[in-house]
């Protein structure tokens, strides 16, 4: 199709902008970020426990489907800053099981997810117990009435604290995981493939946008 000057300019600008947007998206998609290997699925709805230096709270057993290098807990210090210490133990060896990894992080006085990086990566499939204690200031853990079957929080029979186990991976590298998760609880005809097709179709919309602008500008010149 031969395009007139304005239409060509429009198409060219849209094409350059599309390339820039796609390149930026790909670069940011290659950056590493937390990906959940396990979520206890206890909403961080209300305070369930206060942890102190000598009063840790543990929860388990839980089993992550992927490796774990970060532990996510939800809550906030009672005041100021607080230093969270997380210990991941092998739950298969009793309450005081072998320590698999530890980590610590400083948290601010905002109710949010606090990710604590572990000193070692815990392989997938381990039965784990996660213990949290806080120094500097007490830390209020958020959670909800117990809903995860077979999981127990120490000191509280009827409540559980929200717990997430993560590993680091890039967004683009995790797409197959995301799509296989998104395909669950869907109509029978939806599978992981559906989301790959949609991703390809979405990428094609940038091409369609260039066509649309070129055609619109060309029609206006007639």
């Amino acid at each position: 199709v031969r395009l007139r000057g304005p239409a060509r300019r429009g198409a060219l600008t849209a094409a350059v902008a599309a390339i820039v947007v796609v390149v930026v998206l790909v670069i940011s998609g290659l950056r590493s970020g937390p990906v959940r290997s396990f979520a206890l699925r206890v909403p961080s709805a209300s305070p369930v426990a206060t942890v102190r230096a000598k009063r840790p709270v543990c929860e388990g057993p839980v089993t992550a489907s992927g490796q774990t290098s970060l532990v996510g807990v939800f809550g906030a210090p009672k005041r100021g800053l607080s230093r969270l210490h997380v210990t991941v133990r092998d739950a298969g060896t009793g309450d005081h099981g072998r320590v698999l990894a530890t980590g610590a992080a400083v948290t601010a006085e905002v109710m949010t997810e606090d990710l604590v990086a572990l000193d070692r990566t815990v392989p997938a499939g381990h039965s784990l117990r996660v213990c949290v204690r806080a120094t500097t200031n007490p830390f209020v853990l958020e959670g909800a009435p117990a809903s995860a079957v077979g999981v127990r929080m120490t000191g509280h029979r009827r409540a559980q604290f929200s717990l997430v186990l993560d590993h680091r991976a890039s967004f683009i590298g995790s797409l197959s995981t995301a799509f296989s998760r998104a395909a669950v609880f869907r109509p029978a005809w939806v599978g992981s493939w559906t989301f790959w097709v949609l991703t390809a179709a979405f990428a094609a919309t940038f091409g369609l946008a260039i066509v649309a602008v070129a055609q619109a500008a060309d029609a206006d010149e007639e």
Binding site: R41, F206, A219
Partner: protein, 493 residues
């Protein structure tokens, strides 16, 4: 046998007008984006989607309006599906309690799924959606019944796919609206339609189970028809269509009563544009058109009252009277910083204009719990600022009855909607309720935002218009990409 080379009538006489290629390309984009939203958002992870689905199910299985005190809000079938995926439990908490992605749990749900009609028809109890009129839910029932014998998830996603059709119609309506406003200029039409349909919140809400999806489409077509009424001097067919679409909007959501003042203004302006001698004879025909508006609305009010419904959503005010001075103070503090002598009337930590209209309008997904990166909101604010200043600049220079009439109609429609929403929120706070307004409530007027973008593009120097249109299109797709990434990260990673 007829020779293939000899047709009965000339081909040109039978050929339908070809749609503009730019529109076809845009609809292709909107279809793809709509499918992405409809299928990617997890089950019931949209505002009040649990209640809206329950309403659809109640109508589809027993032709019964919800709200019966002796029934459950969710049917047994929906409650099982909800429990299996953890939809209600995780609402507002996607970080700590994302919807289940366990295949074992899904298989367990499928084994237990009885496909029993009785388990689907035992809902219809009190819910947040019960006060809504039924039109959207009746239309959504078609999607529900497509997969009537399958799982709750099949039915939910069938309704969502119906929303993709609504999104396509919104794009078409906005295209037509821009055609009436700017004339048949394809670039402004493309920009208007793209903004209306590809703004991430518009795509998200249109493809969820939510009456707002239909309301956006109806208002877009209403604005187009109102423009036709003004431009074409109140032709009977246009006025009739405008009345019908307004009635449909009111039967979709009560806040659509706000469209009535705009309708009246459009008809008056249309009449004024006729020669003086033709005005009075037109009035009986136009009054007849009014029956298309009043008839369905009155019928609904009567039916609703006869079965004990409220017809118009009731707002609990705890018996406190409407205080005009307090309302004006509330309104001031919504849009502007509080003055020293004013009593604090703040419903959000930040300025509500910023937090509700701008941030939530730019992107607040799920149960308002999935946000965009902070920089994206800053970009949205800058873009909106540029758009507002340029629109005021260009609109202040508008001349001519037709153009000013169109502007008046658009502004009246927008401000009437704002007035209804603010009065509702103020009255709700009188009753001790929390924030009522959400950014999505302005989406029925999203095509006016599209017109503002198109106005800016069309007033640029001629050589830069097409490049500017290209930047708008790619910018919208970039916003879509960022929003869909936010959804995937929040729920699946």
């Amino acid at each position: 046998m007829q020779d293939a080379g000899h047709s009965v009538s000339p081909p040109s006489a039978r050929r339908l007008p070809r749609p503009p290629r730019a529109l076809v390309a845009l609809l292709g984009i909107v279809l793809c984006v709509g499918l992405c939203w409809a299928l990617t958002v997890p089950p019931w992870q949209a505002p009040d989607e649990i209640a809206h689905y329950g309403y659809v199910e109640s109508l589809a299985t027993g032709f019964r309006l919800p709200g019966h005190a002796d029934r459950s809000g969710e049917s047994t079938d929906q409650a099982r599906a909800d429990l299996a995926t953890g939809a209600q439990r995780g609402a507002f908490f996607p970080a700590s309690s994302p919807p289940s992605w366990s295949r074992a749990e899904f298989r367990s749900y499928l084994r237990a799924n009885t496909r029993s009609e009785a388990h689907r028809s035992d809902g219809g109890g009190p819910s947040t959606a019960a006060g809504n009129p039924p039109l959207y839910y009746l239309i959504a029932g078609a999607g529900y019944l497509i997969d009537g014998g399958g799982t709750a998830f099949g039915r939910l996603y069938a309704i969502r796919l119906e929303g993709v059709v609504l999104l396509l119609l919104t794009a078409l309506g906005a295209w037509l609206l821009a055609g009436e406003t700017f004339g048949r200029r394809r670039l402004p039409q493309l920009v208007t339609a793209a903004t209306a349909a590809l703004l991430p919140m518009s795509s998200f809400i249109s493809t969820d189970v939510n009456p707002d999806a239909l309301m956006i489409t109806e208002w877009t077509f209403g604005l187009w028809l109102g423009s036709r009424v003004i431009n074409r001097a109140a032709r009977t067919a246009d006025v009739a269509a405008l009345c019908a679409i307004t009635a449909a909007a009111i039967l979709t959501k009560s806040s659509s009563y706000a469209f009535v003042p705009g309708l009246l203004l459009a008809v008056i302006l249309g009449l004024v544009r006729r020669p003086a001698g033709q005005r009075l004879p037109r009035i009986p025909a136009l009054t007849g058109c009014g029956a298309l508006l009043a008839g369905p609305v009155i019928a609904w009010l009567a039916v609703s009252r006869s079965i004990g419904g409220t017809a118009i959503s009731q707002v609990y005010t705890a018996g406190r009277p409407f205080n005009t001075r307090q309302f004006l103070s509330y309104l001031w503090q919504f849009y502007l910083p509080r003055l020293p002598f004013m009593i604090r009337f703040r419903l959000t930590p930040q300025l509500p204009l910023n937090q509700i209209w701008i941030d939530q309008g730019a992107g607040s997904f799920g149960w308002l719990d999935v946000s965009l990166p902070t920089w994206a909101y800053n970009v949205a604010k800058v873009a909106l600022g540029v758009l507002t200043v340029s629109s005021v600049w260009f609109l202040a220079r508008l001349r001519g009855l037709r153009r000013l009439g169109l502007l008046g109609f658009y502004l009246l429609s927008l401000f009437a909607l704002l007035a209804v929403l603010h009065v509702t929120e103020y009255r709700q706070t009188l009753g001790g309720g929390s924030t009522f307004l959400q950014g999505r409530y302005l989406l029925p007027t999203v095509s006016l935002l599209g017109l503002a973008v198109a106005l800016l593009v069309s007033r640029l120097p001629r050589p830069t218009r097409a490049p500017a249109g290209g930047l708008v299109m790619v910018g919208l797709l970039g916003a879509q990409a960022i929003s869909l990434v936010a959804i995937v990260q929040a729920y699946y990673l």
